[in-house]
Symmetry: C2
Subunit: 182 residues, 2 copies
Amino acid sequence: MITRTQRERAITHCWELCQKTGVALRDDEIHQIEAADFGLSEFETTGLTILTLKITPSVGIKLIALYPWQACPEHLHPPQGDYPGKEETFRGLWGQAWLYVPGEPTPAPHARLPEHRAQYYTSWREIDLAPGAMHTSAPNEWHWFQGGPEGAVILSISTRPTDYQDRFRDPAVQRKTVVVEK
Amino acid sequence: MITRTQRERAITHCWELCQKTGVALRDDEIHQIEAADFGLSEFETTGLTILTLKITPSVGIKLIALYPWQACPEHLHPPQGDYPGKEETFRGLWGQAWLYVPGEPTPAPHARLPEHRAQYYTSWREIDLAPGAMHTSAPNEWHWFQGGPEGAVILSISTRPTDYQDRFRDPAVQRKTVVVEK
């Protein structure tokens, strides 16, 4: 869960960072921003804030904002029936982020994880998501990412989102974020 | 056909306009720019220049640059086997463009078409593609677009591109652009 204050701060932060990307935004799009803490109640270190620009039956277009060192926990988008699962292309737009995918582990990765969560991060091939850098994560492939020292904004362009079916390494994760008054 | 000079000028123009969008680009991405004249040899009025950021088997991510009043002729992306055809979401990034789709014709549309081509433009519901504005064109749906007085950059995010199967209203259109020395 996150508090209403945490959520409001996250939305403001996301909106400010999205402005810094240079991508033209409409004023009403601020209402399409949502904060997710993955049910861990450690939003500032494990969480993200998403401005959804468009969801169609085939495509998702989102801007993902991260606080400094905020991580999106390791997960995959599984197949469902005829659908092979969500394919997701990431492109760095502002700040610095790193994406981690299966493969040869990067010797000295930049990530900084909370110690009590580190065991649930198993993919360590580091992909640079500096502004302009891109990577496509295949359907059903584990991945996670983290913002660098100033945070980051990442463009995510994917096939049909299936967020509530995502599988997470960390068994404590719940996709739904509860917002409490405070 | 277009001349090598026209092509080089178009690539430079596209690159300059893409920089103006604010979207972070890598220097090497200039090599992913292509100019298309649709075989009409009237590139400055009927054509476009595309910076392809990514093509996967499922998704296409492109920046489309238009000269002032340059139009992409009316076309659709037809079904092929199990594939319903390309769905395409347009988002204005810089300048002004208008998209035209089937439906109630807009009374005083902004478009300015070359007279000898106007008969091949039949969809007249005008959609504003100012920066931040979006529209999704369904698979197999006619559409065309044109840049305004300063030209424009449009982000196109689509399902799998099938450019060479596109159907055009204008029977003179050929999708392949021939570049000649001059």
